[in-house]
C-alpha cells in the first residue's frame, strides 16, 4: 500500500519564538487512519497547516499523494480535504449554498455540486437543515457541514484537525461511520489530529503522540504500549474466599496482575488452575490509547 500522507523531518520555527514543530515524521497509507494525539499547543494544527500547504515548513518535507504541499499547494488542495477549527464557512449562506459554492471553487459544475452536496448532506444527517442558514446551525452541525465541504471534491486524503471537538455522541458516530466508509470503500487516507484519544481510537490503526512540537512515539496501540513500558492486565475472577498468589485483589472477587505480553495469559491461567484455583472468568485488560497517551504526555494531556 502506498503512503498518501508523508512527512519527513518536518520543522516549523517562528521568528523569535520556540520551535512549533520539531522533526516530525510519519506516514499514512491509503485506506487507513492515523491519529496525531497531543495537548493544546503541541503543534498538531501547525502540522495540518503545513500538510495543507497553508504554511511553509522551515525544514523537512510534507507530501500529499506524492505532491509537495508547500511547493504545489493548489495541486495538493485538489487531492486533500482539510477541516480545521479556524476554517469556517459562510454564515449568511445555507448549508446547501455553502457546499455548492465550495464545489464551484473546486471547478465543479452547478448541477454536479448540487448532486454531490445532496449526497453528503444526507450521509452526514444534515439533509433536513439544508435550507437553514449556517448561522443557525449548532456547533456539531457546523462541524459536520465542514466535513461535507472537505468531501465535496472526493479527496483521496482527509486532514482533520480536532474533528470531534464540540460534537455530541450521535454526531461523533455519524462522523465515524462516514470516515470508516470512505476508508473502506474509497481507500481514503485520514489524518486525525485530536486531544481526545478515545474519540480517535475506533478509527485509527496507528497513532503519533506529539508534545511541544516533538513526536514522542509513533506506531500502533501495541507498540506504543510496549514503548511506554505499560503492562497488560491479566484479570481472573475466583471463588469468594480464594486467594491468588502474585495477583492484586480487586473488587467483586477479581484478581489482577501485570503481564508483558498477551502470550503470557494462557500460562498464568494454567498456573492458577494447576494450583487448584477455580477460575470463573478471565480477561485481558489492555491499556486504552488514552492511558498510553497519558503515560507519555502526563495527566494534563487530553483534558477536554
Amino acid at each position: 500500500m502506498d503512503s498518501l500522507i508523508c512527512t519527513a523531518g518536518l520543522v516549523k520555527t517562528y521568528k523569535g519564538q520556540d520551535v512549533a514543530v520539531n522533526g516530525v515524521s510519519f506516514e499514512v497509507k491509503a485506506g487507513s487512519a492515523y491519529g496525531l494525539l497531543g495537548p493544546a499547543g503541541a503543534g498538531k494544527t501547525t502540522v495540518v497547516m503545513m500538510l495543507s500547504g497553508l504554511l511553509r515548513p522551515t525544514k523537512g518535507s510534507c507530501r500529499v499523494c506524492g505532491v509537495s504541499s508547500p511547493d504545489e499547494p493548489a495541486k495538493a488542495h485538489r487531492l486533500c480535504g482539510t477541516v480545521t477549527e479556524s476554517a469556517r464557512m459562510y454564515g449568511h449562506m445555507t448549508g446547501m449554498q455553502n457546499l455548492v459554492f465550495f464545489g464551484q471553487a473546486f471547478g465543479m459544475g452547478q448541477e454536479q455540486c448540487r448532486e454531490r452536496a445532496a449526497l453528503l448532506l444526507k450521509r452526514l444527517d444534515l439533509w433536513d437543515a439544508r435550507g437553514v442558514k449556517l448561522g443557525a446551525y449548532s456547533t456539531g452541525m457546523a462541524k459536520r457541514l465542514s466535513l461535507a465541504r472537505a468531501l465535496m471534491h472526493c479527496p483521496k486524503v482527509l486532514l482533520l484537525d480536532e474533528p470531534y471537538s464540540g460534537l455530541d455522541a450521535e454526531s461523533e458516530s455519524v462522523v465515524d461511520e462516514t470516515l470508516s466508509s470512505l476508508m473502506r470503500n474509497e481507500g481514503t487516507a485520514v489524518l486525525i489530529c485530536t486531544h481526545q484519544p478515545e474519540c480517535a481510537e475506533s478509527l485509527c490503526g496507528s497513532f503519533g503522540i506529539l508534545n511541544k512540537g516533538t513526536l514522542l512515539a509513533d506506531g500502533d496501540t501495541e507498540s506504543l504500549r510496549v514503548s511506554a513500558g505499560m503492562k497488560i492486565g491479566a484479570a481472573v475472577r475466583l471463588a469468594e474466599n480464594d486467594t491468588a498468589e502474585g495477583f492484586e485483589r480487586c473488587s467483586g472477587g477479581w484478581w489482577r496482575t501485570g503481564i508483558a505480553d498477551e502470550k503470557e495469559m494462557p500460562a498464568a491461567i494454567s498456573k492458577l488452575v494447576a494450583g487448584g484455583h477455580k477460575i470463573f472468568e478471565a480477561k485481558l485488560e489492555k491499556p486504552a490509547v488514552r492511558d498510553i497517551y497519558k503515560q507519555y504526555v502526563g495527566n494534563g494531556g487530553g483534558k477536554k
Binding site: Q17, G53, L54, H92, Q104, F106
Partner: protein
Amino acid sequence: MKFLTPSENAVVKKDYNEAWSSMTVRVFSTVLPAFTAVVLPIIFFIIIYNISDTDTAAFRQITKLLPESAAAFGVKQKIFYCTVNFIFPIFFLLVPIMVASAVSACCFAGENERGTLETLFLTPLKPKRIFKAKFLGCISFAAIVTALSFAAFSITVSIGDILLSMPFFIDWNWLIIFFILTPAILLFCTALTAAAMCRGKGCFKSMQMSGYIATPLILLFLLQFTGLFVAGARTLLIASLAVALADAALVVAAEKSFVPQKLLFKPVK
C-alpha cells in the same frame, strides 16, 4: 480567453451576496447615495431658489474665480453653479469612497476575521486568483452603486438647471471627476483597505483608512471657498493621476501580501 474562470466568478457572486448581507454595506450603498445624490441637492436647491438676489462683497470675491461662461449668470445661478461645482463633488465622491471602503472591508478583512478566508485558501484557487476575484468584485460593486448614484445626481441637478434656466451642469471638470478621478478613487479605496487587511488591520480599522483619501479631497474642494483658487480640469486631472499612481503601488503591495502564511497565521504570544 475568459476574464474570470467559473471558480473566480463564484467568488465574485459570493462576495456580492456577502457584501449585500452586511448592514453597513447596505446603508452605504442605498441611504448614502440617496442622501448625497438626491436629498442634499434638493435641499440646497430649495434654499438657493428662495434666496434674495442681493449680491454681497464676500460672494463677489468667490465669483471672480468663476469661468467666463458663468460671468453672465444672476446671483441665484452663480450660487447654484458654485454649489454644483464646489460642494456637490465632495458629496458625490463620498459615495465611491465609502462604498468601496465598506465593501472591501467586508470582503477582505471581514472574511479574514470570520475565518472564511482560510477555507477559501483551502480550495485550488491560488491566492493571486482569489485576490483578483475579490478585488474585481469589490470594485464592480462600488462602481455600480457609484454609477447609479451619479445618474440620480445628474437627474436631480439637471432639474435644478432647468428651473434656474442654466446650461447642463456637466463640463470638463465633471467628466474628469466621473471618468478618471472616481475610478482612481475606487481602486485606491479598495486597494488601501485590502492592503490594510494584509497588514493585520481588522474590518473596522480597514474601513477607517478611507479617511486618508476623503480628507485631502474634501479639502481640495472646500479650499475653493477661500476664493484663492478653483480646482479646474487640469488640477483635477493631476489629482486623479496622482491617485492612479498610488493605486498601482497599493495594488501590487496588497497582492504581494495576500498569502495564507501572512494572513492566517498569528504566532502565539
